[in-house]
Amino acid sequence: MKRMALLEFTADGIYCPQADVHLDPWKPVKRALITHGHGDHARWGHQHYLCTEAAAPVIRHRLYLTDNLETVAFNQKVTINGVNFSFHPAGHIPGSAQIRVEYQGEVWVFSGDYKLEPDGISEPFESVRCDTFITESTFGLPVYTWKPQAEVFAEINQWWRKNQSEGKVSVLTGYALGKSQRLLRNVDRTIGNIFVHGAINSVTALFRNTPMDLPPTTYVSAEMKKKEFEGALVVCPPSALGTPWLRRFDPYSLGIASGWMGLRGARRRRGADRGFILSDHADWPALNEAVAATGAERVFVTHGYTEIFARWLRSRGLEAGEVKTQYEGELAEIAESSIEDAKTETA
């Protein structure tokens, strides 16, 4: 009899039959192992949740969980019906993990979302050797190559200073969870005051009592006067674009920080003054580097340019296939999906 696969791709999500658990499932299940707190990976309605200690505060906060969330440290082994599970840093956002699954000597790794470059706030990516690697491919095309983070922040700082000298407020968009804190952590906080949108304020508050070195920020409240924003940086989620909320900052310059800004068409379409190419997902060289570093002979490709990246890997001699999932990667970040979707702050 053919042995069942260690992980299966089912209509509910990625499933481990031996342990009877799901990884980042999108339908309500009995027991879910969660890589990180973005809405397309951590969904509501499971009976039991398991994630890293670092990811827990956000997941607990967003899903209103009380006693059905268990946590583990990075690299700590959890055994369920003979299957060993462990979480390893994915470098995507604070607390984000890849999940290693081992049974009778066979090893699979599910990457969740990841990036290789350290961002100053997330536990840096650690490569994990495995036989089968399930990778994302949000930016799995050779046209996506990121500049080092320091160069991008130098551009952002320069833009902020220039706006300041022209009497404009600098409005910068990024996801409420992850990207916003990365922006806050890495901008030059000596340039001026920093304000945040309510959605970002509540998530950032969760990191305030951690070692993350964040600058002081002020929540933009309704009664604030225009004058208070002079020369300031305002960080808001993409869902604020095109809403009356922005009017109070006029005159302002609008910047969008996203991997999608790497393409001219996307930049022009969003009508932003500046697009900063900054992503929490791996670029093309990093995806290839990550796949190679696992030593995996078989690769499954989830969300992103799945068919293309899988075909590319096959052309490099790997056994690779695409898998349909409901993960969205960075799609909502430029609000290519409708504004309503972006409002739920999914990633």
């Binding site: 001219r264 068409g265 379409r269 003054d273 504004i339």
Partner: protein, 526 residues
């Protein structure tokens, strides 16, 4: 070229007109005259000739980046722009360069006579010493598809401020036959004298009237004419030579031999604005008739017989060799009547529609379709002849388009601003229980609707063929169009003029979309 790429980047990094003008002036103030002239040429769509074909460029970029051909191809589909795709996939440069814009344009021109192997060597060398911004500009120059987010009007505005010359004069000087190779910056922009007798004036273009016509005030202040469906043109007689320009700034004198004898009836030093219009026995023909002769290199006697043209004259902008654009419209009109009275069979004065009230004019407009007119042009009697598209003094009051409800069956991703977004759709109507494609349409949806449709398409794809997807036949759209004609090239047997999406009929079940018979009935009426 650094300076020019910086200008390009600066123009891309702002959506505000004032900032764009500032960036242009900064460039004009700092660039050498030769570069300035090339920048003006590029911004007014006078591109250097293509010397390397796009397929070769794609092949070489694929080789240099060590990618398989299919992967380059897929990348191109996503990026939607060849120059940009090449820029993004190439390895980092190994060398630097600070040559001027003019140097690189000449470099591209000099490729023309080289063998393919030598071209390849030159291009690879160029790529490896240009940084990303310069590389993109270089690729755009060489693929000849440079579109910069600056209108000609804006460029003229900046240049006028920089040169201290009035805007309408600059606009005029930039029209017609000139090239950065044969002219200098000071000759073109600063010189009072022109050697170019063929130089046309910028066309005054009108916006569509969107408010009620009553908002225009006293009908007595306005002149109404029919809006004809041909090609806008200018007829110039100077030095006893005739020149005919189309609105696309193309010299088309030889394409309309019917106009040659205008020389016998028009005085010297005259420039007329009008419409190149298919016309027989005192009546306009449909635009389709004109289309049959537009692209022809050789005009056979049969074509001339089947598709005759007249020049429907709207306005006069030069008289006795003097620019009279500042005259009032009614004064220009009197002069026009005087000049065109000579009775040439192909020189037709655009008739004025007489009316006393807006209500009367509205009922006249109802006759437009039977006259093969697109509607009514309204011109304020005291208006001067301005340049470019402007609001206020001239309006086009078009008739409502025809519409048909159609089903989306294919979608293709767009280019440029719409790259990686499904924006180009093919529509079908019912013929029995088959859906027959009959038109494509690209415009008419809002950005939010485009995103919604894009998302829907990704979720309802049946099959993919390269950049095209066939989708489940479920969405119904109302397609508006200006005209319908028989066509042997289309499966449906009809071709539409100016099709666009009027609205998304979310309320309409697919089965209730229109049929091919409905289209045929419209064809029979027209």
């Amino acid at each position: 070229m650094k300076r020019f790429s910086q200008l390009f980047t600066a123009l891309e990094q702002t959506t505000k007109t004032l900032d764009k003008i500032k960036a242009l002036i900064y460039y004009f103030e700092n660039a050498a005259d030769g570069d300035k002239l090339w920048a003006i040429a590029i911004l007014s769509h006078r591109r250097p000739k293509r010397t390397v074909n796009a397929t070769l460029l794609a092949t070489w970029a694929t080789e240099l980046s060590a990618l398989p051909g299919w992967l380059f191809e897929e990348s191109y589909h996503v990026v939607g722009d060849l120059a940009e795709t090449i820029t993004l996939v190439l390895p980092a440069p190994t060398d630097t360069s600070d040559h001027t814009l003019t140097y690189w344009i000449n470099f591209i021109k000099d490729l023309e006579t080289l063998s393919i192997e030598a071209k390849r060597e030159q291009i690879l060398m160029a790529w490896m010493k240009l940084d990303a911004a310069d590389r993109f500009v270089f690729n755009k120059l060489i693929t000849g598809s440079f579109r910069i987010g600056v209108s000609q009007l804006l460029m003229v505005k900046a240049l006028a401020q920089h040169a201290g010359v009035k805007e309408n004069i600059v606009a005029h000087r930039l029209m017609g036959n000139w090239s950065p190779v044969e002219n200098t910056y000071s000759e073109l922009v600063l010189s009072e004298e022109t050697q170019d007798h063929s130089r046309p004036y910028p066309f005054y273009l009108a916006y569509a009237l969107e408010e009620d016509v009553e908002t225009l005030g006293d009908p007595g202040d306005w002149q109404a004419e029919w809006k004809w469906d041909g090609i806008r043109g200018q007829v110039i007689v100077r030095n006893n030579t005739l020149f005919v320009w189309s609105r696309g700034e193309e010299l088309v004198t030889d394409k309309y031999p019917e106009y040659a004898s205008f020389l016998d009836v028009l005085p010297d030093g005259v420039v007329l604005d009008g419409e190149i219009l298919p016309f027989r026995d005192g009546e306009p023909l449909t635009f389709n008739v004109l289309q049959t002769r537009i692209g022809r290199k050789v005009l056979s006697p049969k074509i001339l017989k089947d598709a005759p043209v007249a020049f429907m004259v709207y306005d006069i902008v030069e008289y006795e060799g003097v620019d009279i654009r500042h005259w009032r419209m009614d004064e220009r009109r009197s002069k026009l009547v005087e000049i065109c009275g000579a009775g040439h069979p192909a020189l037709i004065l655009s008739p004025v529609i007489s009316f006393n009230t807006w209500e009367e004019l509205r009922s006249e407009r109802g006759r437009a379709r039977e006259l093969l007119s697109e509607g009514i042009m309204l011109k304020r009697k005291d208006s001067i002849y301005r340049d470019g598209r402007r609001r206020g003094d001239w309006w086009k009051w078009k008739i409502d388009p025809r519409t048909i409800d159609a089903v989306m069956i294919y979608a293709m991703s767009g280019h440029g601003r719409r790259a990686n977004l499904y924006t180009d759709y093919t529509f079908a109507v019912w013929s029995g229980d088959q859906l027959v494609p009959f038109t494509k349409a690209y415009s008419g949806l809002t950005d939010a609707e485009i995103r919604e449709v894009d998302r829907w398409i990704r979720q309802h794809t049946i099959e993919k063929f390269g950049p095209v997807r066939s989708v489940a036949p479920e969405l119904v759209f109302e397609i508006a169009f200006e005209g319908i004609a028989k066509s042997g090239r289309h499966k449906s047997g009809v071709a539409l003029r100016f099709p666009r999406i009027a609205r998304w009929r979310k309320d309409k079940p697919v089965r209730e979309a229109n049929t091919l018979e409905d289209l045929m009935a419209m064809l029979a009426e027209s």
